[in-house]
Each structure stands twice: as structure tokens, then as C-alpha cells.
């Protein structure tokens, strides 16, 4: 059964149709890429799935649960994690707090227990700290626990953002241009890294990327968007040869 199913999703900004008839079936464990020129509606798709925008039409289902109409934190609590195209860490907070905050939906204590620091509070806090530190050590960030996030170099901020997304304990992970600003060597490492977290955390991954090397290298299926419409969909080899895709990327007349 599909983990994520979107059916004829449409979204308008004013009169502009940003996404039209977006259909996607994501099976559990798959790694699928979305590519397309700037402004094709890729990030909008992520924002629709995670509830930042409410789809104007259509349905988005996580297993049996309809996501359209839910708020972002409700959707996240259903184990959907994401990163952002432009890093959106909590810049003035510590590395540890960035990861701890993403545990919000998993914390089991009431406001009263929080105000008195009694009951389930101590045990739950300890659990969150341990899990956060475990994640940070997996990502080789543990020695930076007390650092303020904005002081980290760019590469480590990217890594911290993925660690934070995993603190949600996601089944579905949405990566928005994970390779932005990386050199070819770093992209090679990132590809291995994505494969590794996918196995280690048993993730289903949907990613947006401009770096063809990464997309063609690790995605099992690729969806090409242009002006909000799906141009093509298929395995990397087929997409690479698809004349419509080449045209959208290289311009009319480029294809024989």
C-alpha cells in the first residue's frame, strides 16, 4: 500500500496556478526525486504536503489519513519530517535545543507537570535529551551540543537540519534541495549519506534537487514539473532521454 498518495492536487496563488493535477504515489521505502526549473512548483508541493498551504483542490493521503485540512504540526506528528531550501534552523538557540524542539509531539507530560517539574516531567525530559544526543552523535555534531546554531559553518547547519528533521521520528522525509551550495565532492558524500539514513532510519524519501548528478544517482523514480504541471515521470534513464524534459531544461529547438 502506498505511504503517500496525492490525487489531482491543485493550488492557486491568486489567479496563478502554482501546482496543477499533481498525482504521486509513494510506496514505503522508496526514494523519489522531483526536478524542474525554478518556479515549477516543487517547493509548493512540499508546502502542500506539510500543511503550510492548504491545497485548493485534490487530496493528499498519508496511508488512510487525509492531510488536506490539517495543520503543519498535526501532519508532522503523523511522522512527516522535512528540511528547507534555505536553512531554517532556530538560529539563536543551541544545537541541542534545535533537536529537542522537534520532539514536541512525542513528549508525554501535561502543562501542570511542566509548570511544577513533577510527575512525568523528569523522565520525559531525560528521554528527550538522550535521544537528541544520540541523534547528534550519529551526525557527528555531539561536540557542538552547546553551540548556538547560527555559529555553525554552512555544511554543519545543513547536517543539523537533517538531524532535527529526524528527531520527529519520520516515516516520510522531505528534503528540499539538500545539495544546495555543495561542491561535487561534497555531493558524492551527501549521496552516500542520504542512502545511509534511508536504510538506518527506514525512511521513505521525497527530494527536490537541481543537481542532476544527485538526482540521477540515487533516485529510483523522478517526477519532472514545469509551470506546475507534471511533464514526465519515470526511472532516471527514461527521464534523461525524454524529449519534453530536455526541451524544458534546454529550451525549444535544442532537441533535434
Amino acid at each position: 500500500m502506498a505511504l503517500l498518495t496525492t490525487t489531482r492536487v491543485r493550488h492557486y496563488f491568486g489567479g496563478l496556478c502554482a501546482v496543477s493535477d499533481f498525482n504521486l504515489e509513494l510506496r514505503s521505502g522508496e526514494l523519489v526525486g522531483i526536478i524542474g526549473p525554478n518556479g515549477a512548483g516543487k517547493t509548493t508541493v512540499f508546502n502542500l504536503i506539510t500543511g503550510v498551504y492548504q491545497a485548493s483542490e485534490g487530496s493528499i493521503r498519508l496511508r488512510d489519513v487525509e492531510l488536506v485540512g490539517k495543520t503543519p504540526h498535526q501532519i508532522t506528528a503523523l511522522r512527516v519530517g522535512r528540511t528547507f531550501q534555505n536553512i531554517r534552523l532556530f538560529r539563536d538557540l543551541t544545537v541541542l535545543d534545535n533537536v529537542r524542539i522537534a520532539h514536541y509531539a512525542q513528549v508525554r507530560y501535561s502543562p501542570l507537570e511542566a509548570l511544577l517539574h513533577l510527575g512525568r516531567y523528569p523522565r520525559e525530559e531525560q528521554r528527550i535529551i538522550e535521544n537528541s544526543r544520540r541523534l547528534l552523535s550519529i551526525f557527528k555534531l555531539e561536540h557542538l551540543v552547546g553551540e548556538i546554531a547560527k555559529n555553525l559553518p554552512y555544511g554543519l547547519q545543513r547536517r543539523l537540519e537533517i538531524a532535527r528533521a529526524l528527531a520527529i521520528d519520520p516515516e516520510l522525509l522531505l528534503l528540499d534541495e539538500p545539495a544546495a551550495g555543495m561542491n561535487p565532492n561534497e555531493i558524492d558524500q551527501l549521496m552516500a549519506f542520504i542512502q545511509w539514513i534511508r536504510r538506518e532510519f527506514k525512511l521513505t524519501i521525497l527530494l527536490i534537487e537541481h543537481q542532476m548528478k544527485l538526482v540521477m544517482g540515487i533516485c529510483e523514480r523522478i517526477k519532472v514539473l514545469d509551470f506546475g504541471e507534471t511533464l514526465a515521470e519515470g526511472p532516471p534513464e527514461a527521464i534523461q532521454k525524454n524529449p519534453k524534459v530536455l526541451e524544458a531544461y534546454l529550451g525549444e529547438g535544442a532537441v533535434g
Binding site: T71, L93, I101, H103, P111, L116, E125
Partner: protein, 367 residues
């Protein structure tokens, strides 16, 4: 020498037992000072105002500092707490026979303020920034005019002759409770949610923080303690009227918050203390005494046009002070920093680097 001092200070701050000891000593002093008149009545009065202002500042800091919103409603919640508590002690509770009922009246004031806080939060937190400031300002004005128009509670004349039930031990008790509860809130996942909202609300929502719930809780805790402070204030001043709780009162608390520093409990305590004492020093008689050494040709006009009207000039000086602090000293005394005593040990330890240098886990992926 200074290094030694700093070292000694650091060591002292690391002593966890110091906080309970300080609180115990504080309680003993709070009882002893009025009992044995260790300070004169005026100093005792100022101490109680310092305490009330600490409660107001710590609680407003939760919304304006930690959450980074700009609420102007604090004096409104204070008014609600003050009127509720005063009506209870004046008209409802048999306080003359049972003075021990006073804390119940104060608590009721806090609860009513918290309930109202929830109601105000609903429209307020649909918006952010300037709009939230405007809505909370509107609420402050509504509270004032509602009170002015209810004759039963004295209308614009207010409630005179309130019994003086606020004592130094009670003020100290509520200071300890408010600081402890706000601190507990801050160091919980709700508190971290509040910080996350200040940083990036949409990202917090996407990191599973129930932003609406977190904001409502923070606002309720904040207005609860504003109500408590109001109840204490009413039974200290012994007279309340709508004019006591106007925008100037909110401005006072705002200055204390930003002077002490946003998102800091220690800063709020320092800010409230410093500001309250400074304000006392700015009384016409005190200022005139301090400036008496000036030649008469300077002093006389100064006294005539300025010093004697300091009460009015305050309305100019204080908002100006707020603007200056926010522009040139946005972090205040200790913005975004905290005394180690206030930080739970678990949180301090959690931020320690691992003892074995980086990558202590064999499973770590090399990337």
C-alpha cells in the same frame, strides 16, 4: 584580582544548594524585617513594590521576551486581578474575622486574569507583531472603560479604603512562586516551543510544535501572574482606580523587561529592582535634595519648571527611556542570558560536550 573574583563568582554560581538557602534566608528576612523594623517603613514599602514589579516583569517577559511578541495588555490583567481581589476582600470574604483568606483573594485575582488572558489570546494570536500590539492595547483600553462604567465597583472613582493586607512575607512568597513557575515553564517543551516561535513560527509548526497551544499557555501563565501582582498591589496601595492601570503602567513594566533583558529571568529580577529603586530616587524631594548644591540661578528655575513637576515629566521621560533602551541597549542587562542557578541541572548537563572527543559512537557514519 579580578580573575580571582570572577573565578570565585563562577564557583559560587555553580553551587546548587545556594538557591534553596537564599530562599530560606529570604523568608526569614521577610518576616524579620517588619517584625523588628530592620528598615524604616518607607524602605519596607519600596521592597514590596520591588517584589510586585519582579512578578510583573518576569511574567511579561514570557510573552514579550521569550516569545518575542509585543503585548501591551499587562496593566489590564493587573487591573483585573486587583479589582477581583479587592472586591473579594472588601465585599465578599469575611476578611476581618479571617485575615488568612487574603491569599485566596489574590489567587482568585490571578485565575480571573488568566481566564481573561485566554479570551484575549484567541483574537490576539491570530496576528503577530504590530497587530498583536494594537489588539492588546485595545484590550487595555476596554478594561479601563468597562471599569469606569460600572458604578458598583466605584466607576472612575475607584475603590478607596482597601485593607492593607499585603505584607513583605506574602510578596516574597509570590515572587518565589512566580519566578519558580515561569522558570519551570521556560525549561519545559512548552518553553522551548515559545523560544522556537520567536525564532521562526512556521518552522516550529513544521517541527511538530503546537504553536497555538504553546502561545495560549504562555499568555495564560503571563496574565495569571499579572493578576496576582494586581491583587498584591491593590492591598498595598489601599486604593485602586482605572487610572492606576493605564498605558503608563504597562510602559513601566515594558521598560523593566527590556532594561533587564529579554528572555532572562535573572535579567527581569535585576531590571525590576533597578528600575523601581531608580524611580523612587526620582521623587521631587529626593532630586531637589541631590541637586541642592547647584547655584540658585540654575537650581531655582530647574526646581520651578522641572523638579516639582517630575510626576508629569515622568510621562515623557519613561517612554523616552523605553525607546532609548530598545534602540541602544536591545539586550539590556542580561538579555538571552541566565543565571546558572535558574537553569535546571538536567539542562546544564545536557549541554555539556561528551567526555570522549567527537564520534564516540562506533556506528557513526563517515560523511
Amino acid at each position: 584580582m579580578s580573575a580571582m573574583l570572577r573565578n570565585g563568582w563562577e564557583q559560587l554560581m555553580a553551587q546548587r544548594w545556594l538557591m534553596p538557602v537564599l530562599i530560606a534566608v529570604g523568608f526569614v528576612l521577610a518576616f524579620a524585617i517588619p517584625e523588628y523594623n530592620l528598615f524604616n517603613k518607607y524602605v519596607q514599602l519600596v521592597m514590596m513594590y520591588v517584589g510586585i514589579n519582579i512578578i510583573l516583569t518576569v511574567s511579561l517577559n514570557l510573552v514579550n521576551g521569550y516569545m518575542g511578541e509585543f503585548s501591551l495588555a499587562h496593566a489590564g490583567f493587573m487591573a483585573v486581578g486587583a479589582y477581583t481581589a479587592a472586591l473579594l476582600t472588601q465585599k465578599v470574604l469575611p476578611i476581618a474575622a479571617y485575615p488568612g483568606l487574603f491569599p485566596l483573594a489574590v489567587l482568585a485575582g490571578g485565575l480571573v486574569a488568566a481566564l481573561l488572558g485566554l479570551i484575549v489570546a484567541i483574537p490576539s494570536f491570530k496576528v503577530r507583531g504590530d497587530y498583536l500590539a494594537i489588539i492588546t492595547l485595545a484590550f487595555l483600553m476596554i478594561v479601563k472603560s468597562v471599569i469606569e462604567n460600572i458604578d458598583f465597583i466605584g466607576g472612575p472613582r475607584g475603590i478607596p479604603g482597601i485593607k492593607k493586607l499585603t505584607t513583605l512575607p506574602w510578596v516574597f512568597f509570590w515572587v518565589v512562586v512566580s519566578v519558580w513557575v515561569v522558570r519551570n515553564f521556560v525549561y519545559s517543551h512548552y518553553g522551548r516551543g515559545v523560544l522556537a516561535i520567536r525564532e521562526d513560527e512556521i518552522a516550529s509548526d513544521l517541527m511538530s510544535v503546537n504553536t497555538r497551544r504553546v502561545k495560549f499557555l504562555a499568555f495564560m501563565v503571563s496574565s495569571f501572574f499579572a493578576g496576582i501582582a494586581g491583587g498584591l498591589f491593590a492591598h498595598l496601595l489601599q486604593f485602586i482606580s482605572p487610572r492606576v492601570f493605564d498605558i503608563i503602567k504597562t510602559t513601566d513594566v515594558l521598560i523593566m523587561v527590556y532594561l533587564g533583558g529579554i528572555a532572562s529571568i535573572g535579567g527581569s529580577i535585576l531590571g525590576a529592582t533597578l528600575y523601581t529603586v531608580l524611580l523612587e530616587l526620582l521623587r521631587p524631594s529626593t532630586v531637589a535634595a541631590m541637586l541642592a548644591w547647584l547655584p540658585a540661578v540654575v537650581f531655582d528655575p530647574l526646581n520651578e519648571y522641572f523638579i516639582r513637576h517630575l510626576g508629569v515629566w515622568r510621562m515623557v521621560i519613561m517612554p523616552l527611556a523605553l525607546v532609548l533602551v530598545m534602540l541602544y541597549w536591545p539586550r539590556g542587562i542580561m538579555g538571552l542570558r541566565e543565571f546558572r542557578w535558574f537553569i535546571p541541572k538536567r539542562d546544564l548537563d545536557a549541554h555539556h560536550r561528551p567526555t570522549t572527543p567527537g564520534g564516540s559512537h562506533g556506528t557513526a557514519h563517515d560523511h
